[in-house]
């Protein structure tokens, strides 16, 4: 074996996976340890080759232990403080994450002063241990690394994902050792009392970064300064969300993270300095190591930074010792270093993207080396440069494509031109911006002069990204691939490339081909035909009806997927009372969920009534995917929000159908939507004008009641056959205004779903909950159960929830 580090890294990563996904008892580890030890003794005399198994096993065990140990380290004992008013003292333990309108501070808790208004000093048996994420929204004084803060507030446990495939914020914070969140508006309840424990090296690095940032801020516009901070230091918190979105859609968002290119520039800078200072080789190398590590600390030592750092050092060592640089070893060493310090980095998208992109560039790009040979001799050097850039872009994109599909559910079709144009410009920005920031430290006008041109280039970049992102078909939605599919992609890629590289496998294939040509051709044709047939004849559909009551917060949103894969949406979620609210659940929850499901077209959108908690997401929906038809009640047009929305739908050319009680919408042969209310002539409050719709699929009936109140339920209860349903969505988020026992006796549901989130209205009311339990109707709540998913073949149905309770 020539690459022990690669083997070590793979074994160790396997151990981390095992430790994360299987709850491996300690006794097993002892057993493995003993086994490994015995094996080691057995093979003691023999060489490295035979020790391979021993070596791998030891590293797998180490991986498991490191994950469990990290769990232990990250554990706090402050969870019991959740949802109580507390006064705590702690110090800022990491560089603050400054956003456009907020700042996040990771606070290491040092002392619990008050709890529920009572002094907690004497009652504490064990010292408090843990971290709190302090979010300060709006204009407020800024704190920096090491500040000791006195914080008064109500800590909350971070939210668990409510919908399938959603980002797990609780796990994410847990991996950072953070147990609780405290939110503060404009710094209320937060006070700096002094300086806490600090690491002097980190402190110095961050202080220099603050100085450099001050130069940038002083010499550029707010927007450009935020962008330059992202490009130079990978801290992208202050980048305009629109610009970030443009970068994401054009596949160039990687320019906002620190890469090997940054390290390369730093090394070049060190060479320059070394030449000026007339340092010898060793001196220059020491300078490089110092400057690069300084920079790594400054940029927060995130996985991409450490990867670039380690690989740069290995390259330096290779130059120094005259060894042959071997990228698989170097890349593995970088992974090993990061994972030894933080085993859970393996699950960090930044880690995964950084390593797969680098792997792609180093492993896949050289396959294109032969390409320039095809070009005419006169153009050779130009073609070589372009084709190299092309090879790097294509290889990196191909390598990360399964991962980006997994996390973001889209593929950028313009990433190739975007990268070819924007990346060279970014290199220029890095050189100019870096020079300006350093020069500005000495003499500010120097930085200002240089940054004038930096700003022009940034402007150009933003315009190009905006233009490309705005092109039709700039992105296509892809279904979230499964982990197995992702693994298969990498395994097949590596195996086929190795096969073509290794002459013997190639020869064997040729031999098989020459012998079995007559059999192989029909076989391949049959496989291709089978794949085509399955993809054409049975598209996305699972063969079952799937109804998902999404956990959309305080609001309603239901996705219905027909057995042949077509989609109906009933209400789109939103925040009541604030149509212009910055937080739009339709955009943040509904659309991403549809993307993960691979849905890019809504065949039927039903909006029950024109309240924000039901329709706010509609605009985001229409913006990001096609909608075939909209069904509303005639009264929808009466409110200003409703008519505005209808106008925008009309402008988009979407067919609008007004439906009243008694009408039927035949969706397909098996699925019918029966409209039960409101009647066409009725004049009532907005909630009572809600569309009441019964979904009929074989023997399954689901009643969607919008926000109707008691009056409407009274009328509905007069038609027992029409309102009977196996599943009822409880009206108005479980409000007591929508409670009528007679209605439930008549409809006679087997279960009820309440679509509700945290709210100040008291939804769901005690009356409704008690009433339903009195009737022995089991209740699923989207705030407690997360998304509620009902699957049915038309005769039977199964219910699945995301959370247990």
């Amino acid at each position: 074996m020539t690459r022990p580090i690669l083997t070590a890294m793979v074994s160790y990563a396997a151990g981390i996976l095992a430790g994360q996904y299987f709850d491996i008892p300690v006794i097993f580890l002892y057993f493995t340890g003993a086994l490994v030890l015995l094996l080691g003794l057995y093979h003691e005399a023999s060489g490295w080759q035979k020790n391979r198994l021993y070596f791998c096993l030891a590293l797998v065990a180490l991986g498991i232990i490191m994950v469990q140990w990290q769990d232990e380290r990250n554990k706090g004992n402050i969870e019991f403080l959740a949802d109580q008013r507390v006064l705590i003292i702690g110090s800022v333990a990491a560089e603050p994450d400054v956003r456009l309108n907020a700042a996040n501070y990771t606070v290491k808790v040092e002392e619990l002063v008050e709890r529920d208004g009572e002094s907690a000093v004497e009652s504490s048996g064990e010292p408090v241990r843990g971290r709190i994420l302090l979010t300060v929204a709006g204009p407020a004084p800024q704190y920096s690394y090491g500040d000791r803060l006195e914080i008064s507030g109500i800590p909350m446990v971070p939210k668990e994902p409510g919908n399938p495939g959603e980002f797990n914020y609780r796990e994410y914070l847990k991996a950072k050792g953070i147990q609780l969140i405290i939110k503060s508006r404009q710094g209320a309840g937060v006070q700096k009392t002094g300086t806490g424990s600090i690491n002097p090296v980190v402190d110095v690095c961050l202080k220099i970064k603050v100085k450099l940032m001050a130069v940038i801020d002083a010499t550029m516009s707010r927007q450009h300064a935020g962008l330059l901070a992202g490009i130079l230091f990978g801290s992208g918190g202050r980048i305009d969300p629109g610009a970030r979105n443009d970068f994401a859609l054009t596949g160039v968002v990687h320019i906002l993270s620190v890469s090997g290119y940054h390290m390369g520039l730093l090394v070049a800078f060190c060479v320059l300095c070394g030449n000026i200072l007339q340092l010898n080789k060793t001196g220059r190398n020491i300078l490089m190591v110092l400057v690069t590590s300084f920079y790594a600390v400054m940029t927060g030592a995130s996985p991409p930074v450490v990867r670039a750092l380690v690989m740069a050092w290995v390259l330096l060592l290779a130059r120094h010792s005259g060894g042959e640089y071997d990228w698989p070893n170097s890349l593995s060493l970088a992974a090993l270093v990061i994972l030894l310090y933080d085993p859970r980095a393996l699950f960090n998208p930044g880690f995964q993207l950084s390593f797969t992109a680098t792997w792609g560039i180093l492993y896949l790009a050289p396959l294109w080396r032969g390409l320039p040979k095809l070009a005419p001799a006169g153009l050779l050097s130009a073609v070589t440069i372009v084709s190299q850039a092309l090879a790097i872009t294509v290889s990196a994109q191909a390598a990360i494509f399964p991962i980006t599909s997994y996390y973001f559910n889209y593929i950028s079709l313009v990433s190739l031109p975007a990268n070819l144009i924007i990346v060279p410009l970014i290199s220029l920005v890095m050189i100019l911006g870096g020079f300006a920031a350093l020069g500005g430290l000495l003499w500010l006008p120097l930085g200002g002069t240089v940054n004038f041109s930096t700003g022009l280039i940034l402007d150009l970049i933003l315009r190009i990204a905006r233009f490309l992102a705005g092109l039709p078909f700039a992105v296509v939605t892809v279904k979230q691939p499964s982990i197995v599919q992702i693994a298969a992609f990498y395994v097949i890629t590596v195996i086929s490339i190795e096969a073509f590289r290794n002459p013997e496998i190639w020869l064997r294939l040729r031999r098989r081909w020459s012998l079995h040509r007559t059999k192989v051709v029909p076989l391949i044709l049959a496989i291709v035909a089978a794949i085509l047939w399955t993809s054409i004849v049975s598209p996305a559909g699972s063969g079952k009806l799937e109804v998902t009551f999404l956990d959309i917060g305080q609001g309603d949103a239901v996705l219905i997927q027909s057995p042949d894969g077509r989609s109906i949406i009933i209400d789109t979620g939103g925040v009541q009372g604030s149509p212009l609210s910055a937080y739009n659940p339709g955009e943040k929850i509904l659309v991403p969920y549809l993307r993960r499901k691979g849905i890019s077209k809504i065949d039927l959108l039903v909006l029950s009534h024109a309240h924000a908690d039901h329709i706010q997401g509609a605009e985001a929906l229409v913006k990001s995917m096609g909608v075939n038809m909209l069904v509303v009640a005639p009264q929808f047009d009466d409110s200003s929000d409703g008519s505005r929305l209808l106008n925008s739908f009309t402008e988009k050319g979407i067919q609008i159908k007004e439906a009243t009680g008694g009408e039927k919408v035949l969706f397909d042969e098996k699925i019918t939507l029966e409209v039960l209310s409101p009647p066409g002539n009725a004049e009532a409050k907005e909630n009572d004008n809600s569309l009441v719709v019964r979904l009929c699929f074989g023997e399954l009936h689901i009643l969607f009641t919008g926000d109707v109140g008691e009056t409407v339920l009274q009328k509905l209860a007069d038609y027992p056959v029409a309102v009977h349903a196996e599943i009822v969505k409880v009206p108005h988020h479980g409000s007591k205004s929508g409670w009528l026992e007679r209605f439930y006796r008549v409809a006679d549901p087997e279960m009820a779903v309440i679509s509700v989130g945290p709210n100040y209205f008291g939804h769901p009311s005690r009356e409704v909950l008690n009433g339903l339990s009195g009737l022995n109707i089991p209740v699923f709540r989207t705030d407690k159960n997360g998304a509620v998913i009902v699957r049915s073949d038309g005769s039977d149905y199964q219910v699945e929830t995301v959370k247990d309770q």
């Binding site: 020539t2 690459r3 022990p4 580090i5 290995v314 060592l317 290779a318 010792s321 060894g323 042959e324 640089y325 071997d326 070893n329 170097s330 060493l333 590289r501 290794n502 002459p503 013997e504 020869l507 064997r508 040729r510 031999r511 020459s514 012998l515």
Partner: protein
């Protein structure tokens, strides 16, 4: 600095250097450049029967014409093929392989011969590989039969059986210092089959074909035992003097 050396030993693994040019190699014992170098047949034409090479003459007519010797006496094998003429880099590589004992070269050579076999449509129905055996004496001094190693490697790649049933029954003086006629006499009756070989298409594997005497003798033995056709694959073939006839 010992620790640094150790670390760099881990980080920068020693790579096999190419046996010919002594520079880096990624696969096998030859670097891609030398690998291409040893199979070049530039400037040469070869006889489609005995596979031996002649310096190319500008007139295109002569290309792949049967050489005079083959026209005078048809060899007992059907045809012979080789990687290239016995000269230059190939000659050196064979020397390193045979006399310096770098058996690892059999990997590269085996791959190249397997490729050669695949390139020949007439060999698609090959049933058996038979290496030319070494005399007892030579087998002892050299320690391995270079032809057998090649045959085993080709067999492994192409999934073909290898037979060791062709044996030397008589030790003969080295062929290399003899003339063509003397070689034929020298080798006569030197081979026999230790076991019956079932009929079919046999490919005979050897390192060098100089005059075709050894290969012809082996082919004769095999044909007599009921084999249908014998084709010869060698690493290198000799270079013939230019034919001194003109139609």
């Amino acid at each position: 600095m010992k620790i640094l050396d150790k670390i760099s030993g881990f980080l920068f693994p020693l790579q096999n250097s190419c046996l010919l040019c002594k520079k880096g190699a990624s696969y096998g014992s030859l670097c891609p450049k030398c690998r291409d170098e040893i199979i070049t047949r530039h400037d040469f034409t070869f006889c489609p029967v005995c596979g031996r090479y002649q310096l190319e003459v500008s007139s295109a007519k002569q290309k792949h014409n049967v050489c005079q010797e083959c026209r005078e006496t048809t060899p007992r094998f059907l045809a012979a093929k080789s990687l290239g003429p016995f000269r230059g880099a190939l000659k050196e590589a064979i020397y390193i392989y045979k006399y310096k004992g770098h058996r690892s070269l059999s990997i590269v050579f085996g791959q190249l011969l397997a490729e050669l076999l695949l390139d020949e449509p007439g060999l698609a129905d090959t049933d058996l590989l038979v290496p030319v055996p070494l005399s007892q004496e030579k087998a002892v001094t050299r320690g391995f039969n270079q032809s057998e190693l090649l045959a085993v490697k080709i067999g492994k790649i192409l999934n073909l059986p290898v037979s060791n049933d062709l044996v030397r029954v008589r030790n003969t003086p080295s062929q290399s210092k003899l003339a063509r006629k003397a070689r034929m006499d020298n080798i006569k009756g030197a081979f026999a089959l230790s076991n019956k070989i079932s009929g079919g298409n046999v490919v005979l594997i050897d390192d060098i074909l100089t005059t075709g005497a050894t290969a012809g003798e082996c082919a004769g033995v095999l044909l007599q035992a009921g084999v249908q056709k014998v084709t010869v694959l060698t690493l290198a073939s000799g270079i013939q003097e230019k034919d001194n006839y003109l139609f």
